[in-house]
């Protein structure tokens, strides 16, 4: 008869109470994991940023463009490997609810600067050759059943008119942290049409993406880029890709903080549920603990028995919760359009956090019962009437 077996028997003493406690913990772990996954998904763009990519945008606002002529000047700065650029195209595909990022990119450099978008060589060449070709992410292709050769019609809004793009390449995200829902087409295709229909808007890009050889040069190169265009009609703001991505979610930071806060409130609730169970259990067993002490069990062993039971319940709850969290997160991902949360999966760190929290909850919930069991004298314990 080992202590572990004794703890297990104690755990099963009130089966319904233990089952309800485990269920409560499991539901809380599902909620915790889900909220953390939402928070992680929100920050996915920041997390997936490369340290050797800088973004140069208009210093006034992201919505103001920059002249294409900046490209060659930026490329002259020591430490700059490649300069690429993009325009946010937007437009409407089918209806306004069908959202996915549509970008006009420099076909020659874009896929070189984003090596996490994997495109087969033959498809890459086909994309480069054809002016109205586009490349779509594998997730997007799956969502809309796009195949090579399909034409995607888009009604322009920022750039009015009807646009048609031929799918010539499908990129695979390198790993789970890469967005597989984007659509890229030739910037030149956009620019040529602008030259005809709105010449004043031609020759401008949304932002530059600069690949640098050494991430430690990021601050210097950023300063040098911005210095180049100081006092020009379009001053620039250069920052790391991570900082650039972060600026997009800054507006929602209060919501994120609230979700973060809620996820930890849930941990507090678990603690109360388990703490209540453990206090009730320990109170009922006051006499038994006194008997164990009479037999010769030390306070430390008693503490281990009580804490062990508490930890056992919380860990079982966490394991059940994590098993349930996967289908819940998958179901949510299926229910919302992929483009809302392109990167939505339970990260290992979330599992570790849930497990550690459960362990911590188990230890803390046992604190008062342990204190009571250890501090109650044998004589008082034996006299206890529960």
């Amino acid at each position: 008869m080992r202590v572990l077996k004794f703890m297990l028997r104690n755990t099963l003493r009130h089966k319904l109470r233990t089952a309800l406690t485990i269920l409560g913990i499991s539901i809380a772990v599902v909620a915790f994991t889900f909220l953390r996954t939402v928070v992680t998904a929100w920050y996915a763009g920041v997390e997936a940023s490369s340290p050797n990519r800088l973004i140069t945008r208009n210093a006034v606002s992201f919505i103001f463009p920059l002249p294409l002529s900046y490209r060659d000047k930026i490329a002259q700065i020591p430490g700059v490997e490649t300069v690429s650029f993009m325009n946010w195209f937007q437009g409407v595909y089918i209806d306004k609810n069908q959202f996915f990022p549509r970008m006009a990119v420099d076909a020659e450099t874009a896929l070189r600067i984003y090596p996490e978008f994997l495109v087969p060589q033959d498809q890459l060449e086909a994309f480069r050759k054809e002016r109205n070709a586009c490349v779509v992410g594998a997730d997007l292709a799956q969502q809309y059943n796009f195949k090579l050769g399909d034409v995607i019609p888009i009604e322009g809004d920022i750039y009015p008119g009807r646009w048609e793009f031929v799918v010539r390449a499908i990129y695979q995200p390198r790993d789970k942290t890469v967005d597989g829902t984007q659509m890229w087409f030739h910037w030149q295709y956009l620019d040529e049409r602008l030259k005809q229909e709105a010449p004043a808007r031609a020759g401008y890009v949304g932002w530059y993406i600069i690949r640098i050889s050494n991430p430690t040069d990021a601050a210097r190169i950023s300063e040098e880029v911005d210095a180049l265009f100081k006092n020009s009609r379009a001053e620039t703001k250069t920052e790391t890709e991570a900082a650039f991505q972060e600026s997009f979610i800054q507006g929602t930071s209060l919501i994120i903080q609230l979700l973060n806060f809620l996820s930890f409130v849930i941990i507090g609730i678990i603690m109360l549920v388990l703490g209540n169970t453990m206090i009730m259990s320990a109170r009922e067993r006051t006499k038994e603990y006194a008997v164990l002490k009479t037999i010769g069990f030390s306070g430390g062993t008693l503490a281990a028995i009580i804490a062990g039971e508490s930890i056992m319940i919380s860990i079982i709850g966490a394991v059940v919760g994590l098993f349930l969290a996967y289908p819940v997160v998958d179901l949510f991902a299926l229910m919302v359009p992929k483009s809302w949360f392109p990167i939505f999966f339970i990260e290992p760190i979330t599992i570790v956090l849930a497990g550690m929290s459960a362990l911590l909850v188990g230890v803390i919930a046992a604190f008062f019962p342990v204190q009571r069991a250890v501090r109650t004298s044998i004589v008082d314990g034996l006299r206890f009437v529960g």
Partner: protein, 223 residues
Amino acid sequence: MKPIIEIQNVFKSYRRDSLEIPVLRDISLTVPEGEFLALMGPSGSGKTTLLNLIAGIDKPNKGKIFVDGTDVTSLGESALAKWRARHVGFIFQFYNLIPVLTAYENVELPLTLTSLSKKERREHVEAVLKLVGLGDRMHHYPKQLSGGQEQRVAIARALVTDPTILVADEPTGDLDKYSAEEVLTLLARLNQEYRKTIVMVTHDPRAAEKAHTVRHLEKGELQ
């Protein structure tokens, strides 16, 4: 006969709020090895308190208690717990078995504090359960046993480590006449055949008859 328990001028009182309630006054007592001593007295006379002091589960305010040469009043909590595990077998009025453990596991509990192997523990537990006549009830849970059987399991638990002394607090107090007789016969047998020193608190004159010596406590004083 060598004295196994020596109580020297022990005083014990309890505090209830600001009130000091004296329970034992200047108790001195010597119990020789192999003795079967019954402590009798009315409720509140201090018999259980004296038994608790002998068993090292409570401490006197004043005085010394030696058990087999060890001054138990000088031991700290941790040392006292180890000492109890080795030297004291406690039998309670209400058996106090752990309900989630079988008879076998309840008896095995004190042995888990020793360095005995699983096989050795099994041999000890089986031997002692057979000795109390429960060899065929080893895997029963307390709720599946009668009161008399439960008390015999409790005796087996007290006995399994072969302690220096056995202390019993009203061991027949919760039993019917037949079961009480069985338990008393068993205690008498342990005393006679195995030379176990037993200190028993009882109200029951029939229980006291089984003892070699009967001492009476009255208002915290030995008569």
